[in-house]
Amino acid sequence: MNMTLRALLGATALLTLAGLASAETTITVATVNNGDMIRMQGLMDDFYAKNPDIKVEWVTLEENVLRQKVTTDIATKGGQFDVLTIGTYEVPIWGKSGWLVPLNDLPAAWDQADLLPAIAGGLTVDGQLYAAPFYGESSMVMYRKDLMEAAGLTMPDAPTWADIDKAAAAMTDKSKEQYGICLRGKAGWGENMAFLTAMSNSFGAKWFDMDWKPQFDQKPWADTLAFYLHLMNDYGPPGASNNGFNENLALTQQGHCGMWIDATVAASFVTGKDSTVADKMGFALAPDNGLGKRGNWLWAWSLAIPAGTAKVDAAKAFVAWATSKEYTELVASKEGWANVPPGTRTSLYANAEYQKVPFAKMTLDSINSADPTHPTVDPVPYVGVQFVAIPEFAGIATEVGQQFSAALAGTTTAADALAAAQELTTTEMTKAGYIK
């Protein structure tokens, strides 16, 4: 065989290999930076072993940047992403707009019926599932058992706001930088307004009546804000109007908070290696006021497929793998049951090993006690527990959040903050055409 022929054969072989390589489908996954998502990136070998023809590119971004970027891409059908990590707020809006691919046809083994009903309900529009939950969360009370015991109190599993008030008063000792309660105060629709909206549900308040008229001028909202300000001003840490999830997490881990009412996912952090009070934490349901609704929210970071992608099959294969029962078992086998993504599947909470995780039961009970389709005491025209699933909500709630944060900082009064919230919400809802 002469050299030319050899070279030609070699080139042909290389071209064939190149052709095979080009048969590989690369999908781009947009995601937020949280522990569960980062962990998944380290476990991709399992996915590649099962799907050798699919390659995954990760784009990790800050939550608000991701939201803005994905919205631009999906609205213009830019096709930069094949799988999106989105929250419970976006799914109903984007699903209704036809921006997402329905996921009802994922393989039978994926077992859609196994999803927790409350979580699946928040991701379903007109009977179609538009996103697969990766991890779900509610909110609950995380409290210091040692401080409660020292005060001679016992935290009920399902406390009322009166119980919280009493416990906060008993555990506060500002001279020791020990604060009875830590709550979100930083302005933002996903910060203080997530907490306050969920809290207001338990006070019988609502964002809108059935005619989409804002309700900040009604007594339940006045009661909600007054009680929140009382808790924070009397028993909360200084500068609380700047505190969001991470600031309160730091305060709790350092032992400054008697109670912290926030995301159930925080339970693994406050009992983790960075916490100085890891062995002293107890958990209870979010409080109520005897009106039939608790002050807890419901959220799931979920994987969805934008309608603009040309790689639907590969994207579905990835979504099905990442949100499967097998993936949960994979995480458990590598990193232990306490580290599996929580709050999505009934089977996880039936697992005897997972039941040993100290906050597992309370997380499940919290998720089950939230109902995104009937979030309030009175009927409302919207879905969503700590948000209203309309596109205008994020902007309006951020402005309302600034008013309430200012009331907490003492730069305005509760009455003025509520009046401003009522006015700005009415203006925006009229502009958007909800109020005729």
């Binding site: 800050e62 992403f81 999830f245 991470n246 997490l249």
Partner: protein
């Protein structure tokens, strides 16, 4: 006549200047310090954090999670590419405005500057669609083009100011000696305006390196520069200050070092003509 100054006032002014300088530099220093602590220590009170042991844990985590090299190379290509392109367009443009101005030159300069006053988000959707249609989304070429367009008004304005300081008679003499237009710009004007061109170049590299809005919006993975590298370390739920600080330190270190070594040139260029 020189203004008389006392030793006391000199000391006060010097201390004041150092204080202002320290205040401006403090956030960078704090980012640097936080990056060498664990997540748990980084959120402690400042003194408690400083007293806690130093570690490179955050840098290791950042390296494991993301490939710094790819983002770094994209930043280099985009910032250098857009600066070179802006200079290639800007030097002839500034020459014509400085030495053969028309009736509307001043208006043109003001109009160019006014484009910097428009909020970038106002043209996001049309530009995004344009990039999508032309296949420029997530490409270095697209980012170089955007970087050039963003900085062109500044380049032209800066060069125009420097060129105005050069006596037109020198260029006329070159012309009388038979220099063509390109020779006049290349061999006469450019060497004389070199400090100005150098400082314009340095400033533009810095501006392009730090540009975040467009680089975050128009790239995903292939062309993503260091701004996206930083953005990937902010977590909605969970501690991230140490990792974010480590990522920020790694992102700003190259440009900080470049700025440090070229500060004499930068200051000289920026103050060029100010004392004439």
């Amino acid at each position: 006549m020189a203004r008389s100054t006392t030793t006391k006032s000199k000391v006060i002014v010097t201390i004041g200047a150092w204080l202002v300088g320290f205040l401006i530099f403090f956030p960078i220093l704090w980012i640097f310090l936080m990056s060498f602590h664990t997540e748990g220590d980084a959120i402690k009170s400042p003194f408690a954090m400083l007293a806690s042991p130093w570690t490179t844990e955050a840098y290791q985590a950042v390296q494991t999670q993301n490939s710094y090299g790819k983002f770094f190379m994209n930043s280099v290509v985009i910032s250098v590419g857009s600066t070179v392109l802006a200079l290639i367009i800007g030097i002839p443009a500034a020459w014509s405005m400085a030495f053969v101005p028309g009736k509307r030159t001043k208006d043109l300069l003001m109009w160019m500057l006014s484009t910097k006053m428009m909020p970038a988000v106002g043209v996001l959707i049309p530009l995004y669609l344009g990039f999508k249609v032309t296949g420029l989304l997530d490409t270095r070429t697209g980012l170089v083009a955007i970087g050039t367009l963003i900085n062109l008004p500044i380049v032209i304005w800066m060069l125009y100011t420097y060129f105005k300081e050069i006596p037109v008679e020198i260029l006329e003499a070159a012309r009388m000696d038979g220099a063509s237009l390109s020779s006049e710009i290349l061999y006469v004007l450019t060497p004389m305006a070199l400090p100005g061109i150098a400082s314009t170049m340095l400033l533009n590299v810095i501006l392009s390196w730090n540009e975040a809005f467009w680089s975050l919006q128009l790239t995903t993975s292939d062309a993503a520069p260091l701004t996206q590298f930083i953005a990937s370390f902010s977590a909605p739920e969970g501690l991230f200050y140490a990792k974010l600080s480590a990522a920020s330190t790694m992102a700003i270190a190259p440009i900080l070092i470049m700025g440090w070594f070229s500060q004499k040139q930068l200051v000289r260029g920026l103050t060029f003509g100010a004392v004439k």
